[in-house]
Symmetry: C2
Subunit: 765 residues, 2 copies
């Protein structure tokens, strides 16, 4: 029995004895996604918490981007920040490691952990629960337990008896190697240490993070070792360097706690965070508060189903509540993307907007179950735009930096969807100004082709209506995604009655036509002079001249269906519904490719449909538009079955900051935001027999499919609040008003939905 | 005619035509000390200004510690911060360099300036005046003019006609090489750039400095080159790296200005500093305001004498008004030594307390001519102590860092002297707490011998009454200096009526006895067990086992006379006044040494008396205590004549943040603070015939010596306010009450002062 099963079982037993057997937190398996390339963590955190204390197994290994990896035999220590599911490796700040005996002050290697402070561990003595992580460090016989509030990680170490205890703090350690530029540590008294570090990675080039830490007992002495100077400084009260590791020594004893707060602003703020959120030494109190927060958040969706189904469902729901995370101190201060200190006035500032991933499903899901946070996302993004050197809403923002590592301006659908759904009190004009500023940022004049970021190429798009292949990397995919984002501006402007803007952006929304090669029947690379690139290989990911040349992380097949705001227009381009459905059939049945090299992110293949990456996430739902909804229904169950096992390798690719999980959560409920902006959800096929969304407005929306099973995957009929539902979509309002959506399921395809009215673009259209 | 002579002459002509021929600013020769190892700069600054725009000729060359060196043939550019006279090389932030044509984006070498952006220059086309510096860059035919406010440097470049103009900004450049850890730059619009950098040097291990810059014309484009990635980023709005250099391009034209503000807090504060202090583009307005500030400060002492004498005197007086310098934004915010942002409440925060140097004469001089600033020094130091990781007043503080590079706790005499003289409104109890905390800081438990800083050794001093040789580097000199500092606590406690503290610190003040070897007749290295170190070489600077082993920057002869709080006690140790005077005679007449290696700081020798370094600065005055004042009188004139020429090599060693100059200024006025704490000034021999101190209290104190000349160096008689002065000292109160001190001078030694009453330790004692 491996640790994660054991922990589930133990939690279940415990809970059963307390009479809480139906608590969602009892269904969590937090090791799902920690294997393969899922990039999730088993670390302790509260929903959307800034701090995530948890184990790091290695650094700068892509498959351990969240610090931990299920296949690893050793743990280096427990750092306080972790990204969840992202394709990038970063964070891992302020590593703590409890040790006994003499230990080299370097991490050591996986093969020979005794060459450093790292320790072996076993999944047999490891547990991860909502807001709690536990592991025994075999090399030291130390039991480690972690829990957290929003800004404070609480560590409880149980040492073997009779040995002098030490806690190491490695300020150089980072999950992205060589990113620690500078650090500083100050020992205020025998129980209080503060410090900071500045990291500069490809993903966050100028990032400031501060900490304040208190120990439950006074240290007897300490030492700070500077790896740059190769010197030990015994009991020095402060030291600065890029490569510091401290050793705090305590008298022999059993239990020892450390609580550590972080702040993006100052050590003083970190100390205030610490004293405000955890003024005591009651580990269990923090742990149960953390669990209660998870219970509240996960309780927003009450699901019924088999244990296995609920394990997958709630574990996925859990992953939709890690990012965006709080980036603000308890006093309201935060560091903006302008690197200045700001005070959030009337909102909580959030960071980690991995928007290329999350605009698709995570944010639409949040408009349903996190409407208040969504309001804060809008305020966070507008503040961000006002601070941005590019005068843009975030692209891929992380701790007061934007890495622009993916494409598009997908803050637009997120902000506009929130506004369309009435979730923000920000003035429409202010939002429109912000989205237009973002959509019209011309970029730098002469950025080099090879140089990330991609935003500089928008100047060409503004002139030509597309991103010319010879000037902008991934230009074809950029054109498709910008066209979509542009359309969302038109949607908003229309609702505002601003015909001029609406007209302009409606036209821009049609820009996807500009990269449509009718002859080939594909979107493809177009040159600045209007000609097509002489070569075309629809299944290739790269061209010989450049990686990701035409499409970012995808090929022409995977991007063939990206016009979520104009699926019917795309159908027309392809010659009609039949031809469109044929192209979908082909996509899902292409034989293994011999053409070109796949990229790491492209995985979870059904034909060339790649569920492990985002560009295809809406594609299985598109049969609905072609009058063949049963094919969607079949595929949803196939994807869920094949690509979401309840196992460490439970994600077929990067979990991507909640997006892969959000796909599952919404699909499991039976509907999905093919067009992520505007409030229309397309019916798929429910995975669970009974799901109730307990809305923040006090209402409930129930999705029933009592006959659903591995075989009964086809919708036979549907009712909404008792009235027949013959269309293949529902609206956001349908959900938010509360009610019951009920499906009759069977094992054979039916005609249900075949004669649906066309899927509208937005609620009320 | 070299540039500095020319500039003096031109200034004189200009001024004469305006009728201001007696303005002190017209006597300045700001190239004095820029040669040899003076470490002064000709850069533009206002008194005590945070910003000092000026030329840098090389980096990491000790003799160019202030960036500039008179013997250098090229200029690399114009950075905004410079240390004045210090023995350490640091600062040189935010280098700007105007160029035309194609220029490699590296500094280039002195031998081949065309390998980089540096340019040749000539002293024939260079000028330095109060608040103004000018030089023509020969390689570009660009004339550069600089001026400043407290926080804003203003650059005016006159380009050759018809050439596209460029301004380079090298964010990596630093006077201490490899200290730039991280930097960030943001181009807000065509005229506004902000940024920051973090440096980590031996002297300031975690230093944050921010800038905001505006150009007088819009740039047409810009490029930031990252030396780490070896990439150019054209027109990028922001970039972070450790090695950035930016190029800002402007249309052809003649004059172009840049104004650049600095802040220790944030770019936002830097911008506020900029907009508050220089909201316009009137270079001449800034320049004349800067000159007016200097005129006001230098006008605090009206001196008469030959042009040469006034050149030396006023140039020295100028150097006493560079440090400590403002370390605070116009909104009151500053970064404390705890690295947190604080707001100075009711005072201006100052930094650069090079106290081992400046406690001797600069601070006593400031109690006379800068009483208001002295009050702020006390507040700055008390704030510093409350923020310090060591709970100590500053040792050698610089921009929210302490480098502890020299010894002693000489903030004590500075703070206590200010309190004794009634210059601070801080409560006596608070000051006493701060000085006692400093004097009782036990240091870290197990610092290694080799490791700076020295404060850790105080634990041994607290136990043994001396710093044992085998445990603490420079332990003998540390004992002497701590004993002195301790005595100042007793002085304060006595006045407060705190007999307990007074008794304890009176006893500690006698600790200098503990390193007195009566047999050898020297202070010397004592071991922890009370024995003397087996070897002793009184003229050696180092022992074979360690540099600076017994004395910091000195030998047993140079430290033989360091008991300024108990000269009569020292006389007793030596067996009486005659023996004491003999030892002085020997010191001043020792033949060139063959024993040991001299250190760079020890220079300006008369025998083994070293005027180029601080430990001897009071020694020439000590003949007064032995009844032989004429020998003091002769020596003062000899030192002034030999070691203060009006030439670039005008300081015989580091000017030391005002200390070497303060020695000259006070000596020239005829009295000197042998004991720098308590308000007693010992008479030397005036260098000028007529000097008036225009006190801030509205009164004036005049020192007349009408017969003084190169020959008439001996005091024949003296009167204070018309009454005979037969004692060899006056008090601080005598000065501050205003009045006239008049000397009758002649060419032969006289009996004047021989029968003086003993010099008291403090005013009123």
């Amino acid at each position: 029995m491996t640790g994660y099963y054991r922990s589930i079982l133990l939690a279940g037993l415990l809970v059963a004895s307390l009479g809480y057997s139906e608590r969602p937190v009892d269904h969590l398996n937090l090791f799902i996604g920690t294997g393969y390339n899922g990039h999730t963590f088993p670390s302790a955190t509260v929903p959307f918490g800034a701090v995530v204390p948890g184990p790091d197994c290695s650094v700068r290994e892509w498959h351990a981007a969240a610090g931990y990896h299920y296949d690893k035999p050793t743990i280096m220590g427990f750092s306080q920040t972790h990204l969840s599911g992202t394709g990038l490796t970063d964070w891992g700040d302020f590593l703590l490691m409890p040790v006994v005996g003499s230990v080299p002050l370097v991490p050591g290697t996986e093969a020979e952990p005794e060459t450093g402070y790292r320790s072996r561990f076993s999944h047999d003595d490891e547990a991860a629960e909502a807001g709690y992580y536990q592991v025994r460090l075999q090399d030291y016989d130390i039991n480690v337990e972690l829990t957290a509030t929003e800004r404070v990680g609480v560590h409880r170490y149980t040492f073997p008896e009779g040995e002098p205890r030490r806690i190491l703090m490695d300020l150089e350690h980072a999950i992205q190697r060589n990113t620690t530029i500078h650090s500083y540590m100050r020992v205020h008294d025998a129980q209080t240490v503060t410090g900071y570090r500045i990291t500069g990675s490809r993903w966050a080039s100028s990032r400031f993070l501060y900490f304040a830490m208190k120990f439950s007992e006074p240290m007897t002495e300490h030492m700070i070792h500077d790896r740059v100077r190769q010197l030990d400084y015994d009991n020095i009260p402060e030291l600065a360097s890029s490569k510091l590791i401290a050793s705090f020594r305590f008298e022999p004893g059993r239990e020892l706690m450390a609580k550590i707060a972080i702040s993006p602003v100052s050590m003083r703020n970190a100390l205030e965070n610490l004293e405000t959120e955890v003024p005591h030494w009651n580990f269990e109190k923090v742990r149960s508060a953390a669990e209660a927060k998870w219970a509240r958040e996960l309780g927003k969706i009450s699901a019924e189903g088999s244990d296995k189904a609920l394990e997958v469902f709630y574990s996925a729901l859990y992953r939709t509540m890690i990012h965006p995370d709080v980036h603000q101190d308890v006093n309201g201060e935060y560091r903006g993307v302008d690197k200045e200190i700001h005070t959030a006035d009337g909102f909580t500032n959030y960071t980690v907007f991995s928007l290329w991933d999350t605009f698709r499903t995570l944010h639409p899901l949040h408009t349903i179950i996190q409407p208040e946070r969504t309001a804060d996302y809008v305020k966070s993004m507008l503040a961000y735009q006002s601070q941005s050197a590019h005068n843009m809403l975030p692209c891929w923002s992380m701790h007061h930096n934007d890495n622009f590592c993916m494409i598009g301006v997908h803050a637009l659908p997120v902000v506009i969807d929130a506004w369309m759904k009435g979730l923000t009190d920000e003035p429409a004009e202010k939002i429109l100004d912000a989205v237009i500023a973002t959509a019209t940022q011309p970029g730098a004049h002469k950025m080099k082709f090879e140089q990330y970021p991609q935003w500089y190429g928008q100047q060409h798009y503004l002139k030509l209506g597309y991103f010319p292949d010879e000037l902008v990397r991934s230009g074809t995919s950029l054109t498709l995604e910008h066209a979509y984002d542009d359309w969302t501006v038109a949607l908003m402007a229309e609702k505002m009655g601003d015909k001029k803007v609406a007209g302009e952006y409606q036209a821009r929304g049609q820009n996807y036509h500009k990269v449509w090669d009718a002859e080939k029947g594909f979107f493809r690379a177009r040159m600045g002079d209007g000609s097509w690139h002489p070569t075309f290989a629809p299944r290739a990911y790269h061209r010989e001249d450049f990686k990701d040349r035409e499409f970012t992380e995808g090929n022409a097949w995977q991007y063939l269906f990206f016009a979520p705001h104009d699926v019917y227009g795309l159908i027309d381009l392809m010659g009609g519904k039949a031809q469109f459905a044929e192209r979908l059939d082909t996509l899902f049945t292409l034989p293994p490719s011999e053409d070109g090299t796949a990229v790491g992110d492209v995985s979870g293949l059904i034909g060339d449909y790649a569920h492990g990456n985002e560009p295809c996430h809406h594609v299985a739902y598109l049969y609905n538009y072609a009058g063949q909804p049963w094919k969607t229904q079949k595929l949803i169950h196939q994807i869920a079955r094949e690509f979401y096992p309840a196992a460490p390798a439970g994600y077929i690719g990067n979990e991507d900051a909640g997006q892969m999980s959000a796909w599952y959560v919404m699909s499991a409920m039976g509907f999905y935001p093919v067009n992520p902006c505007g409030g229309i959800y397309v019916i798929g096929s429910p995975l669970l027999p009974n799901v109730t969304i307990n809305l923040e407005n006090g209402k409930a929306f129930q999705i029933k499919a009592p006959q659903v099973s591995a075989e009964n995957i086809y919708i036979q009929s549907a009712t909404l609040n008792g009235r027949p539902l013959n269309n293949v979509w529902i609206s956001h309002d349908d959900v938010m008003r509360g009610g019951i959506l009920e499906f009759v399921m069977d094992s054979s395809p039916s005609e249900w939905g075949v004669n649906s009215k066309p899927v509208p673009l937005a609620d009320g259209q």
